[in-house]
Symmetry: C2
Subunit: 254 residues, 2 copies
């Protein structure tokens, strides 16, 4: 998965892994009891009890009405990552503006470990995508990020990633991907033509720092019915370009 991954599974602390296994269990199902966690993790009841005691003691887990929940203290740690770059924070605001102005879903995506991670988003209230990881090759924003890498890096990416098919339109052939990236480079934006989920299209542009380093990708997506229109695409791309430019300017001149 990640680059230059050395096999050091031997050197590790399995206790920590168990704690995180519990946390991840609580991520998918909140409000579980000790015995429920026990069933889901294949750990013994006393082990779960002890780990939860530690985690609640530290404030990372909260107990309410006999159910365990992930505490807000983790926010403090993870939020740090969302503000590592000043541009990330600037992007947050632009994502919001994009969403409000276009009434489409807007996202800001960055790469980590050869995957796309949503850092910011504007969209429906029911579902958040923040922190979710998606394959770069099947997203407009992901492909845009790929275009910024040099050839060696892209080769390595393709080698380590299997271009899994998600829809009929997913790019699964490396040559097709190279070609697609060339086109994106040429036109300056990427399009997702129902490549990750059928019925869902998107458009994205790269975001640069004042020093012209890649910060991430700014994207809009919505139902294919709307996004198929070339005129709609053009309008959205123009808007995306404006916002990406504004981020750069914000960073340069405060």
């Amino acid at each position: 998965m990640t680059t230059e991954r050395v096999d050091r599974t031997d050197a590790g602390v399995s206790t920590t892994k168990k704690s995180f296994r519990i946390l991840e269990t609580l991520k998918t199902e909140e409000g579980l009891t000790i015995t429920e966690i026990t069933e889901r993790t294949n750990l013994s009841k006393s082990t779960v009890y002890r780990h939860l005691a530690t985690l609640t003691d530290m404030g990372y887990v909260i107990e309410t009405d006999g159910g365990y929940y992930i505490g807000l203290k983790l926010l403090e740690i993870s939020e740090k990552t969302r503000n590592r770059e000043a541009g990330y924070t600037a992007a947050k605001r632009k994502v919001f503006e994009l969403g409000q102005e276009t009434d489409e879903r807007a996202v800001f995506l960055v790469e980590e470990g050869y995957e796309g991670v949503y850092l910011h988003r504007y969209g429906s209230l029911s579902d958040t995508m923040i922190g979710k990881r998606r394959p770069l090759y099947s997203l407009a924003s992901g492909k845009v990020i790929l275009t910024e890498w040099d050839d060696d890096e892209i080769d390595r990416y393709i080698e380590e990633t299997d271009l899994e098919r998600h829809t009929a339109n997913t790019i699964t052939d490396p040559d097709d991907l190279y070609e697609e990236l060339d086109q994106i480079r040429e036109q300056g934006y990427g399009i997702n033509n129902e490549e990750y989920m059928s019925g869902l299209c998107g458009a994205a542009v790269p975001v640069y720092t004042p020093g012209d380093d890649l910060l991430g990708a700014l994207g809009l997506f919505g139902p294919a019915s709307r996004f198929k229109e070339k005129s709609v695409q053009n309008e959205l791309v123009d808007r995306l370009r404006d916002k990406a430019g504004e981020i750069k300017v914000t960073l340069a001149y405060g």
Copy 2:
């Protein structure tokens, strides 16, 4: 170290604590090397190495250019907490609108463990407050939350909290706090009169679910110079009330 630990939490896993100690070290200082973390944590180098190996293996920590960073995978877990309640997500949008419309800093605060935690915020790009914890009694939004508790709970809160003084205006006397809460209940909003940081004032209103449960508090804050004006306060409070109402409506009718 020595024998005879007075730790009451005898049931716990200290290994997990060590892992989190490393994570918290990386929270305050990013990009540290193994030896730097060793110095800061009083753990042995091999221990730090082993913990980092596990954490990077799980993706919670990222190694780049010999420096260690907190990975975005923690976002996936912590973001869950920010969306536990549908209202939290609705509040996010309203915070943004408030910020845009008033050009002041806007926040949405909830309570956890007798502390106020910022869930959402709109403000300057340089500093994020999300996840930060503040004493309830010294914030407009915090006091608003306190008013919603019954007397027993407030008594217990005051008993367990020492009303530490932050500025000349901080409420440090329990009786004064009771009185203040009464006033807030009466007028339906809270004011922070430079009680946490001198020069900084704020206003806040409670946010309710359609079932009239307290969701959190919506607040605006800014320099005392502006917020001292009664007319300004009234205008901001009106706006806060509108937005709080909109959250309720959104939850009720989608």
